[in-house]
Amino acid sequence: MGAETPAIEMRNIVKRFPGVIANDHVTFTARAGEVHALLGENGAGKTTLMNILYGLYHPDEGDIYVHGRRVTIHSPRDAIALGIGMVHQHFMLVHSHTVAENAVLGLAGTPFLRPAQSVREQIVALSERYRWHINPDAYIWQLSAGEQQRVEILKALLRGARVLILDEPTSMLTPGEARQLFAVMRQMAAEGRTVIFISHKLEEVMEVSDRVTVLRRGRVVGTVATRDTSPHELARMMVGREVLFRLEKKPVQRGEVVLRLEGVTALNDLNLPALKEVSLDVHAGEIVGIAGVAGNGQKELVEVITGLRPVIQGRIFLDGEEITNRDARFIGKRGVAHVPEDRVHMGVVPNLSVAENLILKYYDTPSFARGWFLDLQAVTTFAQQKVKEYQIRTPTVHTPVKLLSGGNIQRLILARELAFQPRLVVAAHPTSGLDVGAMEHVRQLLLRQREEGAAILLVSEDLDEVLELSDRVAVMFGGRIVGVVDASEADVEAIGAMMAGLNTTAEAAA
């Protein structure tokens, strides 16, 4: 087996984005006839590597070989010509078209008249071969996520894919659909194709893959044969052990309960259950970190607390007052600060000035409003003070926010959210994408809030950060809190395993 030419070989791939090295001399090899899993946390560089292979990104350094031949892939078209197909997490489908119409879109060699007819038979044949039950005349909008994914795979196969990349293919599937997908993946490998499977879920990787390559922070940790490894070994490779730096964390007396969730259930944007009977308390003077791989309900958790998503079952209390399904303004007024995940699109209004953005939550409070009017003098004074206090680098307070760097935008958001002694700070990925200096600053600010007696809910994908800042860590998996542990006694491997859905026997929720 070792002597044959690998289907795909990527050597010393380097890809830099502003401020980040997404792939740092990554070498990756996949053979024909195998299911090869690419495992790692979010931001480990898995998708970047595969986007390079599919021609969406161009590597800064490194070479790619397909069936032993060195190639340069400029665009997805080149990749398709080389027999590489990719199914993205977000499907590339036209919803108002039928399955057959999507299949022929941009497909070379189809007739001008009735092109959809020309691929019907192939669709039916493929559908039978993989037991998909796809009707070529069904409209995409009528299909479930799992069925849409099959259409995407079908499109790749119709274009002659010998190498198929699947990016987090189970993230939108039901367990049953996932099992069917795994069967198809095995079948395709048996046909001699190469299936590259991007995932962060250990169970799945163990179930379906032949070999696993683990990435961590843009580097390859190792490639192992699945049958020679164990979930625990993979978890350790994924999460790692080293901690970058320690922050000074003063002991703070934990106070009364500020935020209480009782059996909260909510749906995601696709109307599927995303939060399932979540119960959690956060006390004054305490940071509760939410650890978990993205897409396990963290976003929805943040949104139900801040009033941006309806709760369909359960209740939420703030300082004993029920805030279930109250609007964002009502909740904000009661001292809930929200550092949103999507800073530029949600946290600020890019065309408005620094000063105007600083009052986004307070423009109608007595500090800045007199009757119907805004007190522009007070707004400017407030802005000048905050710019100084939070070291926001901006020419003037009247500069549009879109001119600020990411770190400065985050400082602005924190300056605003922390301005009036919040009772609860909900911080979603507050340091993601920031440089080290800004990251430090943001962490210090959160710790200071804790000392001042605020309750803090920190959502982060950076497990080190969660462990370092939090007093307690709650691990989310599949829309549930699967365990709450004390941060000082936390075992990284145990948390990693819980994050991967392996172990749900941790201490009961407080």
Partner: protein
């Protein structure tokens, strides 16, 4: 109303609705590719004046129609450049196009006011078929431009729904990022459809000035271009339904004059198309229903690769 009056009204609805039909077919193509062109009125009136002028000076109405199509296409090209290449606001650009067309046509047409055309485009009854009672008069006793529209509707319908090009057009209007990723040239398709919309709008205008009136009257389209935009929605972006809608609205136009003696206000009758359009939009509420009726999801949104 007796049968005879009703029947003549039905027969008159076809030529009355023909300009609507051409303009609507064109706008359907533009909108299907994601380009909202509110300049139909301007393209039509330019078609009307150019068609009239060329017919007058050459004595050949078919040259007139060709010139009108060209004029419409040139105007549409401006809108295409501004909204596709420059990615400007399509609403504003379309309004500018309408104003430009109304103004320029007034200027170009001032010599033609009150001038009769030397030639007429007449009905060409199709032998034998036109002798069939009722159906003969309804379908086989018209001028060539009407016959052409009878052919165009199924051809354009088939083209849109059952060909490679049609699939590309609809995917570009629905999800340009996906179309781009699948190798469709989004910009080329949008240019093509917008200009084609101009060609048909030009012909629609020329039909008014060469066949229907036949004369040049300043501002003679009198809102027909806006009706075509309403009809595009009314037809749910389908060439087949455009046929029904155009004749329905043509019928309303005919009825205004015929119902007046019976005490029905022509003005109130005139509002019918517009009220109907709003009602149709109301039915198109909600994401699923919007999908089902075919409203292009990317309508009016400029496409840029960088912002994908």
């Amino acid at each position: 109303m007796d049968w005879q009056v009703f029947w003549t009204a039905v027969l008159a609805a076809i030529p009355a609705g023909t300009p609507y039909l051409y303009a609507t077919l064109g706008e359907i193509y533009a909108e299907r590719s994601g380009i909202l062109n509110l300049g139909v009125e301007g393209m039509m009136i330019m078609g009307a004046v150019v068609g009239f002028g060329v017919t007058l000076s050459t004595g050949n109405p078919w040259l007139g129609f060709a010139a009108a199509a060209l004029a419409g296409a040139l105007l549409a090209l401006i809108h295409a450049f501004v909204s596709i290449t420059l990615r400007a606001n399509q609403i504003i650009s379309g309004l500018a196009l309408t104003m430009f067309g109304l103004g320029l046509s007034g200027l170009l047409g001032r010599r033609y006011i009150g001038t009769p055309l030397p030639v007429r485009v007449r009905e060409v009854p199709i032998p034998i078929l036109s002798d069939i009672p009722l159906v003969g008069d309804l379908l086989f006793n018209h001028d060539p431009i009407v016959y052409l529209s009878f052919v165009l509707v199924p051809v354009l319908g088939f083209l849109l729904f059952h060909t490679r090009l049609g699939i590309s057009i609809r995917s570009v209007g629905e999800n340009p990022a996906t179309a781009d990723a699948m190798g469709v040239n989004v910009f080329r398709v949008r240019y093509l459809c917008t200009v084609w919309g101009g060609v048909l709008a030009g012909i629609a205008g020329a039909y008014l000035s060469i066949v229907y009136a036949p004369a040049w009257i300043e501002g003679m389209t009198a809102g027909a271009g806006w009706i075509a935009i309403a009809l595009t929605i009314f037809a749910l972006w389908s060439p087949y339904r455009a046929l029904v809608g155009a004749y329905l609205f043509g019928g309303v136009k005919v009825l205004q004059y015929r119902l007046q003696p019976l005490g029905v206000s022509p003005n109130l009758l005139n509002t019918l198309p517009f009220v109907l359009t709003i009602l149709v939009l109301l039915m198109a509420t909600g994401e699923v229903r919007r999908r089902r009726i075919g409203m292009p999801a990317a309508l009016g949104i400029p496409y840029s690769r960088e912002e994908r």
